[in-house]
Symmetry: C2
Subunit: 477 residues, 2 copies
């Protein structure tokens, strides 16, 4: 039919994946659970398009080691369009476009895919889902605290135990104060210091000290130019990012000593602490950690990150983050509009949750077709089963009994329903318990009597009229 | 802060929209309800990327009045990538890529946005959601019938009443037989005839007759070249597309008369009818209608369409459709792989459902802040309310009482919670019933006594400890 020499290769671009069954379902469950929390906290759903004018999105991505500045872009009607790289930049466009009509403060949540034209790597995709909440129009630290507290509620809603995660917060204003103090507040230096601190987790204090100074050569011999701070300057920054103490109040005390109690950043964290306490979030769930800076360039104040923890309290990595971005709407309106938000990395969180669970889900009950002329009978059976709330399907291929049972196994079907000519004449159907069958085939690891009994139970005839009731009974077993 | 002469304009590309609150929620509810039906029928979720290699998607779109063949495309790493224009072409790539590992037949469902680089118009967007189910690897008409029956179940699951929709089915094989009969089976002619019939709804029989012949000039004077059939040929086609009768069996009888009972298309519809009947789908829900051809080029057999109906049974337009596409996987594998599928137009269905309902949903309960120093108290109140299952938020702006009540109105809040200094001293909070308040302000349209009583109920003090219980009581009222 088709010229075989001219076939298309079935392949995907690098960095993109297909998500199937449980993996896709896990992501949707997260969006539903997190969205329900956002709704209960008073946030309204907003869905903006995947495609925006390139200039409306702006450029705020870190690590631009790809052409096109990390964004997928293309021309249409002589203007440049881009796929969104996050859900925050489109929100800023939306707020500016509808400024007068919106309640202020405006709380919205959103969920959807975003795209990054970055170098793909293990676990690093060029398409992934985010689930965000943002409050636009409030300069209050209470708004930032709300983000942190809501992130706790969201993580618990998807099933993360209270001792298995931690929110970490800091403020860019603190770092700005440190840089002012050491006379290094020039914008390029600031960005370079930010990027260096952002690698603290991976490189440790000594690696960061090199990046704060002249630069660092990695294992492969590649040299990264540093922020060129003086040695004293670098030490001041390192002392700052190590200010984290056991409790939020203790960290605040240390920061007051380093930067003065009237520092804007200290006052900001103070306000966040007060509101967090009112919302019932103690030091077990949210701490201040000055090594947190976040990679995106647009943050202007508070920054936060949600980390999953090992049993001993170590970090399993970030599953979300956010912060205050008072300048993003200003790009459109020319006046600062205070805003803060939090983004859950849905794909990353789903992967973390799946690593915890190893349950294999049952497939549908499969009704076999012994005689193609009687496919209508099989169709009637699945209709009855579905009517009784049972997930069920008819085998729709053209193969025989053996292949059909193999198919049912591949579908991880719990039960196969069979009605050949003999069974039809007797008014019965055969129910084959495929899960029990697998265990029996493996010998069950139980005693002789149990084995014999189980063998009997694997396959049995039931009256056609009892189909739904008997299947439900077997599924409940 | 920002140079006002250099501001970015907040705007979206044409054909893209922002979806807010209820509109966005309606689309998500449809995906959930339809997905649950697909799951119960044995279909497994699959999510493929938004971006594919352009050649993997192929070109099957109708009405290509835009450059770029109706698809958003761009180059990356010297290869052309495209945004998917439907969920079927990516499925074909997925099946070909994973052919040996998949159960056969393979049933999958998917939901997500698709993009069309077409001329936007009223209600015609360049980004919209689809929710698809497909069975790959079954040539049986029972698989097509399953699609039709499942579409009925899906529409009913989202709340479309049984007498408010109808599934219409036909087969491209029937049309092929007609074209064979009149000696017009050349591929370009066939496509041109397909496109003409697809306009039957809009242009009526006389318009289609012109398009089947030399061509048609529309109101604006634009001339569309026709399929150039002979007059007898055009009459034969028109007779064919008018073959629809009251019941499926009657239509089958008429088609047998026109094309012979052994025609492949007639046998196909016969098989679909049998399976539909077994699945409990009568003539009220699914009919055969030979004027249905569907616009996409890749269909090879059965085609179906879901239409919403007016009270008198007229069509309100299509909210979904599908058909058999036995050649799509062949592009990769060189051998035909039978497949059939159905796609629900989520955005279009949501718009139709919204047109039916005019209920305005309540916003969250809003807790006002009389004194910024006491924002912690307000935070504690919303935490309690949420704990009691109440959607609630704190006002996070910096304005006074009057602006805060205005804000609560803009949020369509049912209740405002107020605790000023007096109330704090007395250990109470004031609950203001904003919905009742609006009705009272409008005079209630009731008698004097009821009015006086309602006025009392609009605003009342309750003990601080009774906050959650009292709010819940008011919401239940």
């Amino acid at each position: 039919m088709t010229d075989k020499s001219n076939l298309t290769t079935p392949e995907k671009p690098r960095g993109f994946i297909d998500r199937t069954g449980e993996q896709a379902a896990a992501e949707r469950r997260i969006v539903e659970a997190v969205g329900a929390v956002y709704e209960r906290w008073g946030f309204d759903r907003l869905e903006t398009p995947a495609i925006e004018f390139t200039e409306a999105l702006g450029k705020f991505l870190p690590d631009l080691d790809r052409p096109n500045d990390g964004v997928f872009s293309f021309q249409d009607d002589e203007r440049w369009l881009s796929l969104r790289y996050d859900l925050t930049a489109p929100l800023a466009r939306y707020v500016a476009e509808n400024f007068d009509a919106l309640p202020k403060p405006y709380r919205r949540w959103a969920a959807g895919p975003v795209w990054r034209n970055e170098k793909p790597g293990p676990g690093r995709y060029r398409e992934f889902w985010q689930c965000d909440a943002d409050t636009v129009g409030s300069a209050s630290p209470a708004a930032d605290a709300e983000m942190i507290a809501m992130a706790c509620a969201a993580l618990e809603a998807v099933g993360i135990a209270r001792d298995s995660y931690q929110l970490k917060a800091s403020s860019r204003r603190l770092l700005d104060a440190v840089l002012d103090k050491i006379g290094a507040s020039e914008s390029a230096t600031r960005l370079s210091v930010l990027r260096s601190i952002d690698k603290f987790d991976r490189l440790g204090a000594e690696g960061v000290r090199l990046l704060l100074g002249a630069g660092r050569k990695d294992e492969s011999g590649d040299f990264t130019k540093g922020a060129c701070l003086s040695e004293a300057g670098a030490s001041e920054v390192l002392a700052f990012i190590s200010a984290k103490s056991e409790t939020r109040v203790q960290t605040l005390t240390r920061l007051s000593q380093q930067l003065g109690a009237d520092s804007a950043g200290v006052a900001e964290l103070q306000g966040i602490d007060t509101a967090l306490t009112a919302l019932g979030i103690g030091d077990d769930r949210a701490v201040f950690d000055t090594s947190i800076v976040r990679g995106l360039e647009y943050y202007t104040g508070a920054v936060f990150e949600a980390q999953l923890l090992t049993k001993s309290g170590g970090s399993l990595g970030s599953v979300g983050g956010g912060g205050r971005y008072d300048g993003l709407v200003a790009r459109f309106r020319g006046e600062p509009v205070p805003a803060t938000g939090f983004s859950i990395g849905v794909s990353r969180l789903a992967a973390a949750l799946q690593a915890q669970s190893d349950a294999e889900e049952d497939g549908p009950v499969v009704v076999l077709v012994m005689d193609q002329a009687r496919i209508g009978d099989a169709m009637a059976m699945v209709a009855e089963l579905r009517g009784g709330g049972v997930r069920a399907e008819v085998y729709l291929g053209a193969s025989g009994m053996k292949a059909q049972l193999k198919y049912a196994d591949k579908r991880t079907a719990p039960i196969a329903v069979i009605q050949g000519g003999d069974e039809l004449a007797k008014g019965v159907v055969t129910l084959k318990d495929l899960k029990l069958g697998t265990r029996v085939a493996k010998g069950l690891g139980e005693d002789r009597e149990a084995y014999a009994k189980a063998r009997e139970q694997v396959q049995r005839e039931v009256a056609r009229g009892e189909l739904v009731a008997e299947v439900r009974k077997m599924l409940g077993r």
